[in-house]
Every structure is written in C-alpha cells, then in structure tokens.
C-alpha cells in the first residue's frame, strides 16, 4: 500500500497545521487542539473548560447560536466541541470541498465567540445535567472517579467538571478564563482527507492568522499515592476500577507498554477476557487500557460483575496483572502485532481517525508520526523487550475504586 503524504506548517502565531492527504476518500476531517483543557480550570472551578466549549459554540462571528448550527447543517459538517484534560477539542467531518467553509465557521467559534450572558445559565444547566447523567451510569462513573484518584490533582480531575465546583463558575470567571487560555501558541490543527496542505494553508492563514497571544500557564504535576476506596450504591453489579503506573506516549518504552496491555486485553484471546470471562464467566465486560498524559501514564482496568462475585473478580484480575511478569508467549505477542497491523491499515479508511491521530502525535511528540513508523516500532518488539518493560514497571501500587452494594477486600 502506498503511504499517504503528510505535510505541515506552523503559522507565525504558533498554530501548527498538519495535513494528511488521502486520495481514496471524498471526505475531510479536522481536529483542532487548543491548550485550554480541564487541567487549566481555575482552582475550585472544575467544569470551566466544558462550560466554555459549549458557550463558545452558542453564537460566534456574525452568526447567532441558531444560525451557526444551521450553517453547519447546510454545509453537511458533523462537528463537536469538547474539553479533554489538556485541550479544548474542536472536531469536524465533511466533504472535502466544504472543508474551507468548515474552518471559517470554527475559526469564528474559537476567535470570536459571543459568550452572551443570557446563554450562561443554559450552559451551566447543561454541564450540571451532564454530571447527573454520569452519576446514573455507574460503569462510566467508576472510571471517571478512578482517574481522579490515580493522577495527581488537577491532572486527574474530570474534564466534565465536579458538581460541587459548579456554583463557583460565573460568566465573568469563564470569560476571563477564555481570554487567558484560548491562545494559538501550541495549538494544533490536524487535517486528513482529500485535501493537500497547499489547498488549506491559505484558508487557515486567512482565518486563524489574526489569532494572537499565548497561554503561559504551566500546571505542575506532583506525585500521588495509590488509593483504595469504595462508593456505596444500591445496584445489581459492582463496578471495579483498578489503575497502576505505566509510561507516557513519549517514552521510548511506550510500544512495549502497549504490547503488555494488549497481551492482557487486546483481543478476545487476550488474558483478561479469557481468564475472567471465558473460563470463569465472572463478567460480561472486562478490559484494560493504556492511558497517557504528556509525562506519565497509567494502565486502567475495568470489570463489572454481580456483587456476590465481585471479590473473586477482583482477585483474579489482580492475579492476572501480576502474572504478566512470569512470562509472555511468542504467540501472544504475534497476535498483538497482527491486530496492530490490521488496524493501522484500516485507519487509512477513516479521515476522522487520522486527523485526530496527527494532532495527538504532534501534541505528545512534537512531530509527525507516519503509519510506517508505528508499524516498524511494533515489528521491532520482541518477547524479551516487552518482558523487560514489565519487569521495570511491574503491576503494583494499585489504585482500586469500587462502586456497588459492598466494599471488597
């Protein structure tokens, strides 16, 4: 297969534009990352980034809130604005011929949001209702609360916000925050689809060129200790979340860490699924995943099971995590590689996935990562290198959070 071409340029204001040209598709997708995620929320005002993302899209440039959504629908743009830990994320997909128009609309949202006072109450109500919805979904809540506990504050605080903090947000506080953090330095615009850098650079320069300033806030990350906690809930199942330290995406050992987690939870032949679901029938849903911030990472594990079987599930889960250090089969690693190879090739069918991936790589590594590079890193893995990683970063220092009728040992 031919490799898609990726080009990039950085505007004088610091915005980096990355374009992967995908001749086989008719669509184009973009992902704009602005360093204004929940980690920058002012103290005791967690929820600011999420509120801001919503508020910014409620009228911008010369369009009202309604005109803005009507324009997106008219152009056939599927877009959304969300907050992650590190970024405000603006994403959209459309036919490639409409990409320029899409970027114009989104530049208004980013550079010229109205932030109308009369919309603020509705914004905050939406944030609060979103948090209530998480309260009612214990499967989701257990992972949100696990993250809060396994990363140091504020890196673990939920991008969705914290109920108790919401009353501290005011139109002024959120507007001030916008002025302080929504800046072009370090912003990344990943684009993938049937377009070239030459096609889009004039538009991007035109619509984002006037954006100025920089967000100079730095948020130190301290250390935190493993936590064990149980949240009581009258429910059929007990939700189990387990986290332990791993490495960041930028770490040279990242691919070995990735393989280790995939041996645990890569496909349906992986260890957690086999041991916990297939052999013991303890769970419908069980998985492990590698979560990474810029400078550190955690393996996050999930299992949901009826309360009476929760203790056994947690015991088997922990035992499997620790057993990884005893050895890994060549066949297990080969299956990880095969799955990776397929998913890398199939990623080339999705402009949305490529645009997000380009932007994410630039954030973590400050450079373009081609699919070929990823493939060669994965090809180079051996059982010995993966085991070296596991021995250097053994499964221990677990943070364990459970939600359900009774606490576990």
């Amino acid at each position: 297969m031919t490799q898609n071409v990726v080009n990039h340029a950085t505007l004088p204001n610091g915005l980096t534009v990355l374009v992967e040209t995908m001749p086989a598709v008719q669509s184009a997708a973009f992902a704009l990352l602005v360093s204004a995620g929940s980690v920058y929320d002012p103290p005791q005002q967690n929820g600011t980034a999420t509120a801001l993302a919503d508020w910014m899209a409620r009228g911008a440039g010369d369009r009202s809130s309604r005109e803005l959504l009507a324009e997106l629908d008219r152009l056939g743009i599927q877009g959304n604005e969300t907050a992650s830990t590190q970024h405000l994320v603006f994403r959209g997909s459309c036919l490639s011929v409409n990409l320029g128009a899409a970027l114009r609309v989104y530049s208004d949202i980013v550079l010229q949001p109205h932030l109308n006072e009369e919309e603020f109450e509705a914004v905050m109500s939406g944030v609060e209702l979103g948090l209530m919805a998480i309260e009612d979904e214990p499967r989701q809540k257990v992972m949100v609360e696990l993250l809060r506990r396994c990363y140091p504050h504020p890196w673990g605080q939920p991008s969705e916000g914290t109920l108790a903090d919401l009353e501290n947000l005011t139109p002024d506080s959120v507007r001030t925050h916008y002025q302080r953090v929504v800046k072009p330095n370090g912003a990344i615009l990943g684009i993938a689809g049937n377009v070239t850098l030459n096609d889009v650079l004039p538009v991007v320069s035109d619509v984002f060129g006037a954006w100025t300033g920089s967000n100079d806030l730095t948020i130190p990350a301290l250390t935190c200790s493993p936590v064990r906690e149980h949240l009581a809930l009258e429910s059929t199942q007990t939700q189990i979340g387990v986290a332990y330290p791993s490495v960041a995406y930028s770490d040279p050992e990242y691919y070995a860490a990735w393989a280790a987690v995939n041996v645990l939870s890569g496909g349906m032949s992986s260890r957690l699924f086999t041991e916990i679901r297939e052999k013991r029938g303890l769970c419908y849903s069980v998985y492990a995943t590698l979560n990474t911030l810029k400078d550190r990472g955690q393996v996050l594990c999930y299992a949901g099971t009826t309360a009476e079987r929760a203790q056994e599930t947690l015991d088997v889960l922990r035992a499997e995590l620790m057993r990884l250090g005893d050895g890994i089969g060549q066949d297990e690693l080969d299956r990880c590689k095969a799955r990776a190879k397929s998913s890398l090739i199939m990623a080339q069918e999705s402009s949305g996935s490529r645009s997000a991936s380009l932007a994410r790589n630039w954030y973590h590594l400050g450079r373009i990562v081609t699919l070929d590079e990823v493939r060669s890193k994965i090809d180079a893995l051996t059982v010995a290198t993966v085991l070296d990683y596991v021995h250097a970063h053994p499964a221990r220092d677990f943070s364990i959070l459970t939600i359900g009728p009774a606490a576990l040992q």
């Binding site: 599927q78 914004v123 199942q237 349906m268 032949s269 397929s342």
Partner: protein, 430 residues
C-alpha cells in the same frame, strides 16, 4: 444519544455520486437457498463480510425468551473442529475486527479484515454459525449472559427501552426482550437452543453480505466451499399487526439523579415507502443537534437530552421519544414535547428544515460509506429484510426526492404521538 441503535435504523444513503471508485454489485443464490450479495471496491484497504440471520427476539417462543442472543454468544464457543479458545485465537491471529449482535429481528455476525486474510477468517466465521453447543460451554456462558442482564439492569436508559418495547408491543412479538430475563435464561436448556437453532439457522434464512476489496470469484468460491452444505430451507416469520394502546409505566429507582423517559408511537414499517420521509422528519424534529426538540429542551438546559428517532421493523415501526432530565421538570418537558408534536402534526415542517436535514443525513451516509464496514450494514440489512440493493447514488436520489408534501402525507397517517410512556428514575408517576 438514543439508547439503542437498532439493527434496521435507516443507514443507506449518500449525497455523492461515487464516481471515483467503482463499486460493483453482485448477487447469487446458492442451491440451499443462501443469499449472497457483494459490493466490491478495489480502492478499499479492507474487506468486511457478515452473515445476517433472520432470527431475533421476535422469533422466539416466550418459553425460550433470550435464546437468539444466547445462541449468538454460543457461536463463539466453537465447533468440533474449532474450540472456543481456537475461535478467539484465530480471529486475533489474523487481526480481524469482528463481533456479533442480536436485535428484535436478526442476528448478525461480522468481520472486517485485510483482503489477504479473507479466506481464513471466512472459514472460521462461517463455521461458527453451526456451533457444537457443548454443555460445559453452555453452562459457563449462561453466567456471562446473566452478568450482561445485570449490567443493563443498572443502566436506566436500557431498562426504559426494554420496558417501553414490552409495553408498546404487549402481546406482540416485537415486545419480547432481546436479552430475556434472569428467569428465562436461567431455565433455558441446551436442547431448547439446539431446536431453535435447527429451525432458524437454515440457509434460506441467511444472507451473506460482502463489502470492500475482494473479487466476486473469491466470494463465490468461499460461499460454495464453506456454506454450500448448510441445511436448506427457510423459517417463515409470521408478521402480525400490532395495536398499541396508550399505556404508561414507571420503574422507581430512588438513587437515580435523573428521570429517563421513553415514549413510543406508531410509524411506517420497513417496507413502507414513507420510511424515508419518517427518517427526515425525526432528524428535523428530534436529532441530537439543531432540531426542534434540541432548541426547545436541550439548548436552554431544561433536559440533558431530548431526541426523537425512527425505527423500522417488519409490519411495524416506531417513533421513539427519548428524554433525560431532572425529575421535577419531567412533566413540563413532556408537555413541551407534546406542543412541538402538535405543531408539527398541524403545520408540517419548513422547506429550510427539510433542506438542512437532507444535507445532514447525506453527510452521515457519505462518511459511513467510506469504510467497507459502513457499507456492509446497509448492504446486508437491506437484502435480509427487503431483498433490495441500493447504490449510494440511489439513496441520494431518494433523499433528495422527499418533499414537504411527502412529510405532510406521512404525518396525516402517522402523526407524532406519545402513545406509550415509560419512566425510570425517582418518579412514580406524572
């Protein structure tokens, strides 16, 4: 988001003439009755294939409620030749992206693979449709199913959907739960499952659909080789009229913060030409963004979500209203929805709204159609239910052709209503 995607949700249209890549359609019927359809595309990186079995919750006797879904799980427990571990291991060895799903009307087994691994994964995927059903596997998997039921019991939106379908279609096959109950699954025997399998997994009841990068000769060879010996025959489905009467039910869950409401009303069935108008109507009235419900309820922060969707089945269809929000304002929010529906029923929608909805649907279909997996779902679903193939261009034309007059016609026969009401959360009534 609406709680359940629904296997037959409209998913088959696009704005763009696909002139860049040539998609070629092929069809044949094997002597045993297996329908084979393919839409092949040299420009794709992958190939997706799926077996669409006309066997879902509606086809179950009440005494074996949940058997279709349980059987779907049991397929992955393997055959004489492939053990359960083999099945999981081999799919992973070829890097296949594979899964299965069970709905009211069908069970679907599908995979997406690199073209060079099609023969191996096809052999495995096709063989597990006729699993051995070993007793120890059956007993173990029953525990997993019971866990799955427990998981959904803790999700208010799933409980609301399940109860709403039961109530709306009470006494009718479409009211039968996909998962079954703890009681029905616990009581199910492998012998009952074997019998259900023998009746429903006949070649004439199954469609093999293939989309993406392979050639027709390969598809034919694989189909003959691995499916040619499947038992012939069909298992006709009796489709009866449902007559939903207004009813309501509240499932009290005190610890919930919000109230989940689902309301159902009659809509065109899956063979009704008005289904396209119904899809456009629900996008205009109840899409998750820029719809009437969105501006009235979600934008002002009155509800966490408020949506209306269209679901089509054989012989029936539903408009599904979904509302999540604070219990104390649920009554008022439902009244607001009633007002919107009355206004639409009386005055229709505007030309602008229709145009925006057309663009919105078309974009979704174009983007989905860029991946073989996206094309597979419309290819297989359309052939299973309607014996119909439509190109992206056909769908484009249909969507473009829907007029305000069509929407008015639809509304006069199928007005937007709130016939069946189910609430899950703190409330015990309105």
């Amino acid at each position: 988001m609406l709680p359940v995607p629904g296997p037959n949700r409209f998913q088959n249209s696009s704005l763009i003439p696909s002139t860049k890549s040539s998609m070629l359609f092929h069809h044949t019927t094997l002597p045993n009755g297996l329908e084979v359809v393919a839409e092949l595309n040299d420009a794709a990186y992958s190939v997706a294939f799926g077996f669409y079995v006309k066997a879902g919750a509606r086809d179950e006797a009440v005494s074996v409620s949940g058997v279709s879904h349980f059987l779907e799980h049991m397929a992955f427990k393997g055959t004489e030749r492939f053990s359960a571990e083999d099945v999981n291991r081999i799919f992973d060895e070829y890097g296949a992206d594979y899964n299965a799903m069970t709905g009211e009307e069908s069970t679907i087994f599908y995979s997406s693979v690199l073209p060079e691994y099609l023969p191996q994964t096809f052999e495995l995927q096709s063989s597990i449709l006729y699993p051995t059903l070993r007793q120890d596997d059956f007993d173990m998997e029953k525990k997993v199913i019971l866990e799955e039921i427990g998981m959904y019991e803790d999700q208010p939106s799933s409980v609301a959907y399940d109860r709403a379908m039961q109530l709306h279609f009470s006494g009718h096959e479409l009211g039968q739960s996909i998962l079954g109950s703890v009681e029905s699954v616990s009581a199910l025997t492998s012998e009952q499952m074997r019998q259900y399998h023998a009746e429903h997994y006949r070649a004439g009841n199954i469609v093999l659909a293939v989309a993406g990068n392979t050639d027709w000769a390969t598809v034919l060879e694989l189909a003959h080789k691995h499916c040619g010996a499947w038992p012939a025959g069909v298992c006709p489905r009796t489709v009866t009229q449902s007559t939903p009467a207004p009813q309501s039910l509240f499932v009290v869950k005190d610890q919930c913060q919000q109230e989940q409401m689902i309301q159902l009303a009659a809509a065109p069935d899956c063979k009704d030409a008005r289904r396209f108008a119904a899809e456009l109507l629900t996008v205009i009235v109840g899409d998750d963004s820029n719809s009437r419900l969105y501006w009235e309820l979600v934008d002002p922060g009155l509800a966490e979500s408020a949506e209306c969707g269209y679901y089509e089945y054989e012989g029936s269809g539903t408009f599904l209203t979904f509302l999540t929000g604070p219990p104390e304002s649920t009554r008022e929010n439902l009244d607001r929805i009633t007002q919107i529906y009355s206004d639409v029923n009386a005055n229709g929608v505007t030309a602008d709204e229709l145009e925006q909805a057309k663009n919105k649907i078309a974009t979704r279909i174009v983007l989905r159609g860029e991946r073989p997996m996206g094309r597979l779902s419309s290819l297989g679903g359309n052939w299973l239910i309607r014996r119909e193939y439509r190109t992206i261009e056909d769908d484009l034309a249909i969507i473009r052709g829907v007029t305000l007059e069509d929407i008015r016609g639809l509304l006069s026969d199928f007005p937007l209503q709130q016939t069946t009401t189910v609430g899950v959360g703190p409330m015990n009534g309105l």
